[in-house]
Each structure stands twice: as C-alpha cells, then as structure tokens.
C-alpha cells in the first residue's frame, strides 16, 4: 500500500509571530520555519504503517516555494521514502493545494493519503476535505486512531463531546488529530540516510493546475492585548459587569 503524506511548511510553533505594520499578513522574515505539527503526526502514522508492514512506500509532498525542501528533508529523516515538491511562488491556499495534490494523486495512485487536520498558520482545516472531494476518495477526518483492515480503514474520530468510529473503503483520506500519535525525533543515522533519498520537483504548470488564490486576505490583526484585571467590591457589581460589559450572562 502506497501512502501519500502532504506536509506544509509553517512558522515554528515556538515562534511568537508578529503582524506586519501594514496589516497585510504575518512577518515571516528571519523567522524559524518547521513542518506543521499535524503533518508531523501524519508522517509518523505513515511511517508506523510501513514499519508494521502495512504500507510499502511513504511519499511526502509539499506545495510551495523551494524552501519547502527543508521540511521535506525533515520528513525523509523521519522515515518517508521519497519526497515531491510542487514548486510555486504563489502564496497557495487550500483549494490550490488540494488541486495540485489531486493531480499528483492521479499519477501516484496511492491507497491512503494522510493529511494533518489543519495547519497552525491558516487554521483552515480544509485541504484534506477538498482533496477528498476532488478525487472522490472516502474520508475520515480528525483521526485519533487509524486501523487498516483489508480493503477498509477504521478511523476513530474526535468529535464534539466524544469519539466516533467509522469504517471507510480504500482508497481513503485521513486527517490527523493531536492524539493520534506522538511523533518521533529524527535520529542522526536517519538524517544521513535522508540525504540519499530522492526529492523530485515538479511545477504547477507541469501538473496542469491553476494555483491562483481565490480568497483575498483583506487584513490581519493581532489579538487585542489583555487589559489588567480589576477588583470588584460586591457580588452585585460582578454580576452587573458580567451582564453589561462582558455580556457573558444575560
């Protein structure tokens, strides 16, 4: 079974991001970048499937600028067998990414595609679902457990207030939730092996897909700064503030 894992290059989770002065976006100059944490979980799941003998090949794919090679190398060091970069200078959005991946899937014909449930930069949680729609594959989103069973995959989903277990047919799309696994760290021998693995580059033109963004970002604003707390002198005053200022009770 071939497994594709799309991964996104995002700002490292430990970085305190800053909004650009003109509110056009996040300032990414000189900022440390990393593999999106949910995508790391996806890679880990795929590598575990390979170690268990269920998967035969794990292919990591990224859509973005040439700098994404860095994150693909990380995936190779974590155990992916090869990597493909769909190189573009366009600031890609979920639909464009899903189209590019669907075009690649038409060639790769993977039986399982594991996405992170969302990327920590845009928090869209759309790409996996759009890809499933475009390819007509079944989907199991927000997985906290994945078990391959013959031609089916059983996915335990994290839903509001509990868990839901579904069985879907292969080929399938799974998106990973936080509790699916705890990703390993790259070991030195695997970092060295990664150097010898193949990392191919294709362009959107070669795939025949149009990556032009369909959503325009109007403004990005930082969250409001938290004001200092105050002490109220009576229960009545507290209730009044909760009702009329914070408007959390009525």
């Amino acid at each position: 079974m071939k497994v594709l894992v799309p991964v996104k290059r995002v700002v490292d989770a430990n970085v305190k991001v800053r909004v650009k002065p003109d509110n056009s976006g996040i300032d990414l100059s000189n900022v440390k970048m990393a593999v999106n944490p949910f995508c790391e979980i996806a890679i880990e799941e795929a590598v575990r499937l390979k170690e268990a003998g269920t998967a035969t090949e794990v292919v990591a794919i990224s859509v973005g600028a040439s700098a994404c090679q860095e994150q693909l190398r990380t995936c190779l060091a974590l155990g992916a067998d090869r990597a493909i970069l769909v190189e573009t200078d366009v600031d890609v959005q979920p639909l464009g990414i899903a189209k590019a991946l669907a075009a690649l899937q038409a060639k790769e014909e993977a039986e399982l595609v594991i996405f992170g449930k969302q990327s920590i930069d845009g928090d869209n949680s759309q790409t996996g679902q759009m890809f499933a729609q475009l390819t007509g594959m079944s989907q199991g989103t927000f997985a906290s457990e994945v078990a391959i069973d013959g031609g089916k995959v059983q996915v335990t989903r994290e839903i509001d207030g509990g868990l839901q277990t579904i069985k879907i047919s292969l080929p399938a799309v799974v998106t990973t939730d936080l509790r699916l696994n705890e990703p390993r760290y790259a070991s030195l021998p695997n970092i060295m092996k990664a150097k010898k693995k193949s990392l191919d580059t294709v362009t959107a033109d070669e795939l025949g897909v149009d990556l032009t963004p369909s959503v325009e970002v109007v403004a990005v604003n930082p969250p409001a700064e938290r004001a200092a707390g105050i002490t109220v002198d009576s229960v009545e005053a507290l209730v009044d503030k909760l009702k009329n200022e914070a408007k959390v009770i009525s």
Binding site: A34, Q69, E70, R73, T74, A77, Y185, A186, S187, L188, P189, N190, I191, M192, A194, K195
Partner: protein, 388 residues
C-alpha cells in the same frame, strides 16, 4: 565566501533541540543538586545515534566532522543543559580520537562500536596534581613486565572516573630527565578503571555537579600491552593531534551556555517591571545584553571558521585557539550579565542563571586556560618570544 547554512546542519540542530526539550532546566538543576549523572538524557542522546557522530562509520558511528559534532554540543549546552549535559557526552563524542587515529584495528573493533552506541564510557586521565598546564611534567609511570604494563601514580581532575569502564591514561614510560625531548617518553594506555588497584575520589567543586570529576590513584594497575594506543613514547604527540578539534568543541559548548543565559536574561528584562516599566527599557540593562549578543555571534563565526578549516583538512591552530578564548570569554560575560539582569533572583537557583554562571566560569580554566590560549596566539600567531 559562502555563509549558506546547509539543510543537514539545520536538521541536526532541530533534532538535537527536540531531544533536549524533554530535559528542561528543572531536570538539570535537580541532577546538579543531587550530583547524579544524567542517565535519562544520555540514553536519549544515545538512542538518537548522536554519541557516535564523529566515530567512523566502519566502527558503528556516523563519521561526521567537527562542524556537525560542534553543532550537537552547542545545542545541548544551549538547551539549558550547559556543561552538565555537554560533558556527559563530550568524552564519548571526541575522546576516542587517539584510538580512531592510532589504535590497531582490533582495538578499534573492540571499543569504538561500544562507545558509539553509548554503552562504553571512557575517561581521560592526563592532569596530575603537579602537572596541569605543563603536561610533560607528569610522573605517573608504567613499567613493562612481560605482556603487561604496571601503572603507578596519581591523576587529578579525571572527569567521569566514577562511571567510566576505561580511561585513556597518559603515563611516562621514560622519565622526563631521560627523554631526549620533554615531549618524548609518554605513552597512552586504554586502561581498565574499575579495579581494586585504582582508588577514585570525587572532588568537591563549584559546579557541573551532575558529572563528577575525581582524583584517581593508581597503585600498580596492570594494563595489557594490547591496550596501548599506538607506539610507546608517542602518547603526547597523539594528544596534540586532537587539540584543535577539542578546542572547537569546547568553544561550541561555551557558546551554548552563553545562548541559554542570554535567552533567560532577555525574557526576564522583558517581564520584570520595576518603577512601572520593564527593566529592559533601561539602556543600562539592555545595552550589556546587546553587547553579549554581539560577542556570542562573533565567537560563533570563529568557531564555524575553525571547524570548517579542520574538516577541510587545513591548518586551524590559530582559529581553534581563538575560538575557544572568544567563546569562553563571551560565555562568562553573558552569564554574568544574565545574573546581573535578574538582580537578587539571579542569585537564586530557581532562575537557573546561577547554574549557567558557575558552569561558564569553568570554560575559562579547563581544559585549557585563557592564559595558555594567549600564549599560543602571541607565540605562534604574532611570533613574539615564548614566555615559558
């Protein structure tokens, strides 16, 4: 000229950072306080293959250069592990260099894979009570009896002696007076350490207390001739051979401590409000931190250059020595400023900068003092007359 950082070096940095993130400052403070070797950390680094980074691939390591090894040790120190973390690994990462270079194949087969996997600890026994900087004055002796050497003498400052299975021991096989040159007549033995003929006592010291450093007395310890590294009488030269690499690694560790100290100092300068504003808003607090950053970055450049030269097989004595001096200096100044920035709390263990400060202080003394680096630079780089 090219300052592009290789992808692989970033991968190494990231991966080491991740391992270290599981061992926060509190872990190190606790190990330091209890004088306990950081086994959990050591095992995690061994599992990731990091200990064998500079050991040849043919002997179970990864055969990478000093550039890569220095990145690992820098990141370990910078995580807040400081010297407690770096020393735990240092001897395994680079200590076996004389064996790699001059040992017989049988010796390499027997020991290197075990060092690379993290299973075998080897200490380094050179310094004696009356021979520190002046190594050629050592008096610990080995006399040949059949197929054994019998070792007698007293070493001091042997790091990891309590837990090491073996020690790379520098002994005199010919007394200094009878040697043609003072640097002749010394031999390197890979001796067993945990033996009844060996008495080991830890030394109370200022810091880096998770890793004990000991006084070690050898009372007629037998060492098989097969455990001699290279030829008899050439031990000192074998050591000189690894000195530049050693300087670079030490410099990288010092740099790491400086980075950790600066990180804490900056965070504290942002958060601590005195007279109604963050203390970092006062230039008297901010400027020294700006200076610390510049000193650390400048030291890093010298480290990278020295490591690059060494890995290219080019002479790097000047750069390696200067890197050690600059990094040790920047590291201690930064740690000291970090303590100052914290005010009274800097003196409390809870904020960790006092631990960095104690460990950064060591870097100006050992394994080579700042004065001896200046001797090297004035004599060999500026070509001024030798002073001693």
């Amino acid at each position: 000229m090219d300052f592009q950082i290789e992808d692989e070096h970033e991968l190494i940095r990231d991966a080491v950072r991740k391992v270290c993130a599981d061992f926060p400052d509190e872990y190190w403070a606790d190990k330091d306080k209890r004088h306990e070797f950081p086994w959990e950390f050591y095992d995690a680094m061994a599992a990731g293959g990091w200990i064998g980074i500079a050991i040849p691939e043919a002997y179970g390591g990864s055969g990478r250069g000093i550039t890569e090894a220095s990145i690992v040790l820098e990141e370990v120190a910078a995580s807040g592990a400081a010297m407690n973390g770096a020393t735990a690994l240092h001897l395994s990462i680079f200590g076996m260099h004389p064996v790699v270079k001059y040992g017989t194949d049988a010796m390499k087969q027997a020991y290197l894979p075990r060092v690379a996997s993290g299973d075998l600890h080897v200490a380094f026994g050179v310094t004696e009570p009356d021979a520190g900087t002046d190594t050629t004055s050592i008096t610990t002796s080995a006399r040949l009896e059949g197929d054994q050497y019998i070792v007698r003498g007293r070493k001091v400052w042997t790091t990891k002696a309590l837990i090491a299975e073996r020690v790379l021991l520098l002994v005199r096989t010919t007394p200094k007076e009878k040697s043609e040159r003072r640097t002749d007549g010394m031999t390197l033995l890979l001796a067993e350490l945990q033996r009844p003929e060996v008495d080991i006592s830890p030394i109370d010291k200022v810091g880096r207390n998770a890793v004990a450093t000991c006084e070690v007395v050898y009372d007629d310890l037998p060492v098989a001739v097969a455990d001699r590294v290279g030829e008899e009488g050439k031990g000192f030269r074998y050591l000189l051979d690894g000195l530049n690499a050693e300087r670079i690694l030490i410099a990288a560790e010092a740099l790491g401590i400086g980075r950790a100290a600066l990180r804490r100092a900056v965070a504290y300068a942002q958060d601590r409000v005195v007279f109604g504003r963050p203390i970092g808003q006062n230039q008297g607090v901010a400027f020294p931190l700006g200076e610390a950053k510049m000193r650390l970055d400048a030291a890093e450049l010298m480290i990278r250059k020295a490591a690059w030269l060494l890995d290219q097989g080019q002479p790097c004595g000047a750069e390696a020595n200067m890197a050690k001096w600059l990094a040790a200096d920047a590291s201690f100044q930064t740690a000291d400023q970090a303590m100052q920035t914290h005010g009274g709390f800097g003196y409390a263990s809870e904020y960790h900068v006092e631990r960095y400060w104690r460990e950064a202080r060591l870097m100006r003394i050992a394994p080579i003092s700042q004065e001896m680096i200046l001797n090297y630079v004035t004599e060999h780089v500026l070509e001024l007359p030798k002073s001693y």
